[in-house]
Each structure stands twice: as C-alpha cells, then as structure tokens.
C-alpha cells in the first residue's frame, strides 16, 4: 500500500502542477507594441515616486523620467541644455544680463562687478519655457520652481537631507520654519522690492535667485533638483505632514504613488507594483525633436525587477527583456560573444579607481609604518611600482583604461593637462627608479626580499571590500617588486565611521570622478582636509589648498580652466591618490525589437540618448 500511496501522491502533485501550467508569460515575446522591456537588478522596486524620497537603485532613473530639472548638463561642451528652463544669465544689480555681444557669459564683466569682497552673492536670472505642463494638465510656472527651492531649504516642511545639500549654495534660508534670508524672487515673491523688473507678461516664466560666489553654485540647482508641482503639494504639506513625512496621510501616500510630473513619461500606477514599473509617454511633454516629433521614441517602458544578476542576464539572452540596465562584470563578456541580436555597450568610464595613502593620520593613529607614507619619496616609489596596464588587462579583462596621475580623464580635452601624466612611462625603468629611491632610504631586506624598518618588515594593509581583493592581490605583486608588503584588510559595513574618518588604516581604495561640473565640490572634498570629509588620507598641502580655493571662487571661467589645469600636475606630484584604472561601463541590449542604442560615456545603454534614437525593427 505504501507504494500505491506514494505513487498516488506523486501523480497528484504532477497533475496539479501540470494543471496549473498556464503557459509561460514572458510578455515581451508576443508584444508588437512600441514597448521597451528594461531589466534591473535590485532587491525591490520603489512604490513611492516622490523624487526627493528615492535615492536608491532604480528610483533616481524613474524619477528623472517622471520629472524634470531646470536644465541638463552637457559634459562634453560644459553647457546647460534647456529643459524646464530655456535661458539663464548672471545679471548686474539692475537685472541686466552680463553677456557678450555673442550672447555668451561675459566673465570679465562678471568679475568686475562681483569680484570685490563686499559683493556677497551672484544674482541669476532664469527664464522658463512657456509651454511646460504638469501631467495633469496644469501649467508649470516659476511659482512651482519657487515652491521647490523654497521647501528644499525649509526643514519644517520638507526635512529632507539631500535637498539641504543640493541647495547649500542658494542664499535662501529658514530657521525653525521662519525665513531668515530670501534668495529666490518671482513676480509674486518680492522681485520688484529687490529691484528686479518682471513684467505682467513674464510673471510665469521669469525669476531670479541669489547664489554663493562660486561658478559651480548653480550646477546642483539647475541639474539635480527635480521641480515639484506646487498645486499638488502646497495644499497638503504642513509641519505636521511634511513632504517626506514619517507618518504620511492617506492623501500624501496617494500623491507618492500617483505622481504628477512634467517629464517625458508618466507612471501607469495601475500596472506598477514592487516588481514592475510601467511608464507611458507623457503626451504633454514640451520638448520635441528637430522635426517637431516626439523627443523620446519609445511609447512605453516596462522596468522588470530581477533580484539575482545571473537570472537577469539569462533573461536577456532568452529574450524576456530588451535591455539590462545594470552593469555587468567583464567576466561575463564571453556569454555574449557570437550571439545574434545582442549589443554590448562598452562605454568609457568616468570613474577612476585610486589607491589612497594615509599620509597624515590623527596623532593617536600614527605609527612607524604610517609615518613612512608622509615621506613623498616613499609615496613616489609606491606610485612608480604600480602597473596600471596589468590591472586593466587582468582585473578588468581589458574593459577599461589607464589614467593620468592628475586623475583627470584625457577625453576632457579642455581641462586635461598632459604634464600631469608622470606615471605611465616604461615599467622596467620605473621599477629601477623606485628601487633606487628605496635602496637609499631602507637598504636592508629580510630573507623574503622585503625591506626592513628597524626590526620590522615594511608592511601596509589595504582596506577594501571582498570585490576588491583581486586588485589588492595584484598590488601585492607590484609592490613586492620594490620590497614592500601589502595585505588585504576587510572594510566592514561602515568603513567611514570605523576606519576612514578616524585614520585607522594604512591605505584604501577610493573612486574619484572629476569634471568641470563637479570640480568645485570634488577638488575640495578629495584634497583639502576639513575635519570629516572624503579626503581620507588627510592630505594637507597649504599651496594646493590655496590653489583649489582660488579655482573654486574665481568668477573668470578661463581662469578657472587654467587653475584646473595647474592643479593636475600638483596633484600628480603629491603621489597621494595613485590612479589604478578607469573601468568601462558594460551593459547589454537585444536588437531584435529595437535598434539605435547609443553608447554614452559613463552611462549604461539605457540612457536618454538611446531613448531619443531607438527605432522599432520592422
């Protein structure tokens, strides 16, 4: 009977399972509509779409499609490209644009007018496009922009940490819900009192803001802050029910889940859940292509959640999705070779991996080994021994490139200074030079060939995460050639707190990105020690600090460019953040339903240029 029972149970289970077989529902296969299926590897999808709430995973990508910023930034040209706003100018105290006859910013005049220390801010005039509408049909005006920037600075109403950082250069402030300084002016908010003329006809489209006297001050205001609809949030946001409330009301939750934006897409809330996000074309979107047609060529975008990267990759290979919006390791490249309808985007990265040396630890964390790193000759020897080419070849499987010691990408031709490229010479000659430097300082070696300091082997640990072990093991081999031992040390879950800010490390790996758009922030963050900052190794070079401050505060763009150029050799010769490589961004798409994917520097294949260029096959 037991055999019969077992057989019956197995048969029943098989019957139930097969009975439940309703056919595989891989939607994309039978879908002939203009719908792009995009896979994303994440733990879950957001179900709230208030852009200021969502910082992780795919949330910023979705937010950027539902909402718009005032401008977007073109890294190639350094220009702000129109989005909600069409034009902006620095203006003189009478509100007149400070521009040349050709319409460009007149930096010379700007410096003449605002260069003196008694001038405390730069006034900026912003002109919005007159045809921007929210997805519910309401017209977008400067009052929406005022509301957004104002609430970002008002802790009592928004209490949003990121927004405070974005608006830190805007001279508009609140204290406990009371405005202490006004730096945003519209027709309805004190423009005429401040002496700015805005006519009745311009009242929806013209506004002025006051920013700190830093040329980069406008960048985050223009290109990071997604503008929010005042008519949606103003009626429901109060100090008790903040924009990002801990205990949101039902109405607030409804608005989180049914966003009203002005971006190229609108959320299909009915079809969206924690595993799929559906965006449909916003018929009211104001930007068009050169022929007056839709700027974005895809009608519907479906983001599909994959919690496991291997499953996502296989889904793409099997045709369940068109694009995988997650970078893949170069180890997977062989999976995509010689396959039909597969497009691999091998985009040049904007991110430089560097080895940071702790050359100025706090007093309590100093020791004999770390003291060695304060010697620039030792640092130079370490930098000379590192073989970037091998790291690119072996760690990145060729999907990357070597980087100048000035840490600026060569592709940024306006800023890159070749004089800073002092570490990419012949490796054999570099090793001879490095060993000669160290032979003069620490000539004695132990039986394993490592140099001796006192009675101890010269040895450093490199703080890293498990994914960085391969690069650290390569560095072990590189530095062994000059008699220096390095070992891997795990970073743990909160390295800033446990190791980095309190100087409890010898060396660590850190990513660095420099461009004109972030130079004001990043040069200071990486090379000027101001207590807690990401300048982990606490470099403190007064001359470099002075030059960085000069670059940040100059109002002359050409001077700024020149100073960025001058900074690069200075940074290179510190041998403080030693470049290791710049890895490419590898992403994959299928081309059997859509063609026209565009590879964009530093971005995945799912980017706005691809969306503006895609064409359906057949």
């Amino acid at each position: 009977m037991t055999k019969k029972t077992l057989l019956s149970i197995m048969t029943l289970l098989l019957f139930i399972s097969l009975g439940a077989c309703t056919g595989n529902e891989y939607e994309r296969r039978g879908d002939t509509s203009n719908t792009l299926y995009v896979g994303a590897v994440a733990a879950t999808f957001p179900t709230s779409f208030m852009p200021w709430l969502s910082r992780d995973g795919i949330a910023p990508t979705v937010s950027s499609m539902l909402y718009n910023t005032l401008f977007s930034y073109d890294e190639d040209t350094g220009n702000y490209v129109e989005s909600i706003a069409s034009e902006w100018y620095y203006v003189d105290p009478d509100g007149n644009p400070i521009i040349t006859d050709e319409g460009a910013i007149d930096y010379e005049r700007l410096e003449q007018i605002y260069g003196s220390s008694d001038k405390k801010y730069l006034p900026v005039k912003i002109i919005l496009n007159d045809d921007v509408y929210w997805s519910d049909g309401t017209k977008l005006t400067v009052e929406d922009v005022y509301y957004t920037l104002d609430i970002a600075t008002n802790n009592a109403l928004s209490n949003h940490a990121g927004a405070l950082a974005w608006t830190s250069d805007l001279q508009h402030a609140y204290s406990n819900g009371i405005m202490t300084k006004q730096g945003i002016f519209t027709y309805e908010h004190g423009a005429s009192e401040k002496g700015y003329t805005i006519t009745e006809a311009e009242k929806d489209t013209v506004m002025y803001i006051h920013v700190n006297k830093v040329l980069g001050a406008i960048t985050s205001l223009f290109t990071t802050i997604l503008i929010l609809p005042k008519h949606i949030w103003d009626p429901i946001v109060t100090p008790e029910n903040q924009l990002n409330s801990k205990n949101p009301t039902a109405e607030t939750i409804h608005q989180y889940q049914n966003p009203v934006g002005c971006g190229p897409y609108v959320l299909d809330a009915q079809k969206t859940n924690a595993q799929v996000i559906v965006l449909n074309r916003n018929p009211l979107y104001h930007l068009t292509d050169t022929d007056g047609g839709n700027l974005y060529k895809v009608d519907t975008i479906k983001f599909m959640l994959y919690q496991e990267a291997n499953v996502a990759i296989y889904s793409l290979l099997k045709g369940h999705i068109d694009v995988l919006d997650s970078t893949i390791s170069s180890n997977y490249m062989s999976l995509f070779l010689d396959r039909d309808h597969i497009y691999v985007s091998n985009s040049e990265g904007t991110f430089t991996q560097s080895l940071v040396l702790n050359l100025n630890p706090v007093a309590t964390e100093r020791n004999d080994m770390r003291n060695l790193l304060s010697n620039i000759d030792v640092r130079r020897a370490i930098a000379l021994a590192i073989d970037q080419e091998e790291l690119v070849d072996k760690v990145l499987n060729g999907a990357g490139m070597t980087v100048s010691a000035g840490l600026m990408s060569e592709s940024l031709v306006d800023f890159y200074n070749p004089e800073s490229d002092i570490l990419r010479t012949d490796l054999a000659a570099r090793l001879i030079e490095a060993n000669a430097i160290l032979d003069a300082l620490y000539p004695h070696k132990d039986s394993s060939g490592y140099r001796i300091l006192g009675d101890k082997r010269i040895s450093f640990s490199i703080l890293g995460n498990p994914g960085e072990q391969e690069v650290i093991s390569r560095l072990q081999v590189h530095l062994q050639k000059i008699g220096i031992e390095v070992t891997y040390k795990a970073k743990g879950s909160s390295p800033e707190r446990t190791f980095l800010y309190n100087s409890k490390f010898d060396m660590t790996l850190q990513g660095v990105i420099f461009s004109l758009s972030n130079a004001d922030i990043m040069y200071r963050a990486h090379f000027v020690t101001m207590g807690t900052s990401s300048n982990y190794g606490r470099l403190n070079d007064p001359l470099l600090n002075q030059k960085i401050e000069q670059m940040r505060t100059t109002l002359n763009l050409q001077t700024k460019y020149d100073l960025i150029s001058e900074l690069q050799p200075m940074i290179a010769e510190e041998y403080y953040k030693i470049p290791l490589y710049s890895s490419n961004v590898l992403t994959v798409a299928r081309t059997d339903r859509f063609t026209g994917f565009v590879t964009v520097k530093g971005q995945s294949i799912f980017n706005s240029e691809s969306l503006q260029n895609l064409e359906m096959v057949g």
């Binding site: 139930i16 309703t22 529902e25 405070l164």
Partner: protein, 332 residues
C-alpha cells in the same frame, strides 16, 4: 499536562522574548554611535557642517534625537501599541504593513514546502527503514549525502536555468504581476501554483531527504524495540505494525524536527526568494540589510524571533502531550 508546566513554559518564552527584544534594539546600534549615520552615510560632496545639519534632520525625523535609553523606552512603548516602527523606504511605510504584505507569500512557499517535505519524507523514510540495507535504503542514504553537498540555492539555480529558461516547463522567475493581480479566483491560484513550482521543488528536495533520513533513523530505532516484535508476533499486518506501532512511537524526534522547521517558517529562504524574484520575508530582510533600513531589519527580526519563540513553545507543549514523561521530568 500540568497547568504549572504550561505557565512556566509561557513565562520562560516571554522572558526569552524580552531578551530578544532588548538585543534587537541594541545590536544594530553597536559600532555606530549615531544611528543617523547609518541611515544617511557621509557623501563625498558635503562639508562637515552640511553633514551635521543633515544628521540632525535625520535624527529628528526618526526619533534619534533623544538618549538611547529614551529611544528604547519609545521603542517598547511602540511595540506595546503594535507599532514595529517606520521603514526608511520611500514613503516611510510602517514596518508592520510591509511584513503583512510579504508574510502570506513566504508562507505559500514555506508551508507548502513543509507539508510536501514532511509527507513524502515520512513515507520514504519509513520505506527505507523497513527495507533497511536494500536499494531503497542505500538510495536514501546516498541522496542524503548528495543533498548535504548541494545547497538549496544551487539546486534552485540549476532548476531555474534548466526547467525554467531552457525547457520552459515552469517560470524561471515569478510573474511580476502575480501578487498585484491575485484575487482568490481559481485562475489566480493556478498562477501562484505555477510560479511557486520551482521554488517549492528547490526547497523541498533537501526537506524531503532530511525528513526521510530523520524518519528512517527514528523508525529503525523503534523497529528494534520488543513491542514491535510482539506486534509482529501477534500477526498484525505490515501496515498496522508501521502506522499503529512503529511510526507513532517514532514521532518524537520527527516532531522536534518539525518544530524547528515551523519556527523557521517565516524567515523565508532568502536566496531562493531572490533567485525566483519571490517577494517574501527573506527578500524584505535582505533589502532592509542592503539599504541600512534598520527599523525594518529590527521589525522583521523581532517578528521572526517572536514567531520562533511561539513555535518552540507550541512544539514543547505538543511534545509533552506526545510524551508525558517530559512534563514529569520538568516537575522533578
């Protein structure tokens, strides 16, 4: 069963819960002096002053701006009012709501897995014991060795790739609309069964072999007892001997094992859920961990611990029902 025994067990379980609750509150705070730093790690582009402002904002929003003792009091007060806290997720959903959303889907997998594993495991374990030394027994022992070497997530990946992607017999991963479109209709139930097939098979393989092995050992231990020989000598049929005498007396270790399985029911199979995109408690906890959402981590951990404590309590009480000697032993 003695009433005092039950009360003693309940008080003991409550005491364990208090310890778990206290540890659950303090452990996430170890190593981070300021919880706001865990919620909002330092960003490279912030000055120290900006970061201080940001941390203050975060502290106020999540109630970290009071002393740790006061936070603990607030936490206990919240628990007494059924409030497990507020998640850091966008929209700040209540932790209890998130658990309520995910729990049924984890139970679909884990309860089905448990029933299948237990039922089939009991049968094959009994057969193996009865056919001790023959091919049925050696097969089970060999499978047991193999299953120990093959973790469930590895089996899941193989099944997902072979039966899901290659053969397309079952979905390689969960239909993203399964949860949102579920409406208790037969069609919906079929969709859930279809999508749950591979995760359940992946989990059950190890479970069946585990229960089979456990049952086999327990049955063999009982089979050698005199009363089984007596039952046989009485001329009882094989099935009567197995079901009325052998299995009944072999139940204690199986119930212990079952109790342990029940206490782990809602923990979910984190990696299995991840591979099959199954939105259950396991992925909720994983997501909380990945995003430093420790109100959610604390909430999920506390809920899982409470469930495990209750399950263990019930198992112990059942145990004493099955074997009165347990109660007597306690009384001594």
């Amino acid at each position: 069963m003695q009433k005092s025994f039950i009360i003693k067990r309940i008080l003991y379980a409550f005491f364990i819960f208090l310890i778990v609750m206290t540890l659950n509150f303090f452990i996430p705070r170890i190593g981070v002096s300021d919880p706001a730093e865990r919620y909002y790690p330092p960003q490279g582009n912030m000055t120290e002053i900006e970061y201080e402002i940001i941390k203050q904002v975060t502290r106020e929003q999540y109630g970290f701006d009071v002393s740790t003792v006061q936070q603990f009091i607030n936490y206990v007060d919240g628990l007494l009012h059924g409030d497990l806290g507020t998640s850091f997720q966008p929209g700040n959903p209540k932790v209890s709501h998130l658990i309520a959303e995910r729990l049924p889907w984890t139970l679909v997998l884990s309860v089905t897995n448990l029933i299948i594993s237990l039922f089939i495991g009991l049968i094959i374990g009994t057969i193996a014991a009865w056919k001790r030394g023959r091919w049925q027994d050696t097969t089970l022992l060999n499978l047991s060795t193999i299953s120990t070497a093959l973790p469930a997530f590895f089996i899941a990946l193989i099944l997902s790739f072979y039966l899901g992607f290659e053969k397309e017999l079952f979905p390689a991963y969960t239909n993203p609309n399964m949860v949102s479109q579920f409406d208790w209709s037969w069609e919906s139930i079929k969709v859930v069964m279809y999508n749950a097939a591979l995760p359940i098979i992946s989990m059950s393989i190890g479970g069946i072999i585990g229960y089979g092995q456990g049952t086999r050992n327990a049955v063999i231990a009982v089979t050698n007892e005199d009363f089984i020989l007596t039952a046989r000598a009485k001329g009882l049929s094989r099935n009567q001997v197995i079901f009325k005498h052998t299995l009944r007396n072999a139940m204690l270790p199986i119930v212990t094992s079952l109790g342990m399985s029940i206490s782990g029911l809602i923990g979910g199979a984190v990696i299995i859920e991840q591979i099959f995109n199954w939105n259950g408690m396991g992925t909720l906890f994983l997501n909380a961990n990945n995003t430093n959402d420790y109100p959610l981590m604390m909430g999920v951990m506390l809920f899982m611990s409470a469930f495990a404590i209750v399950a263990n309590l019930v198992t112990e009480l059942c145990y004493s029902l099955l074997d009165p000697r347990v109660t007597v032993g306690e009384r001594r």
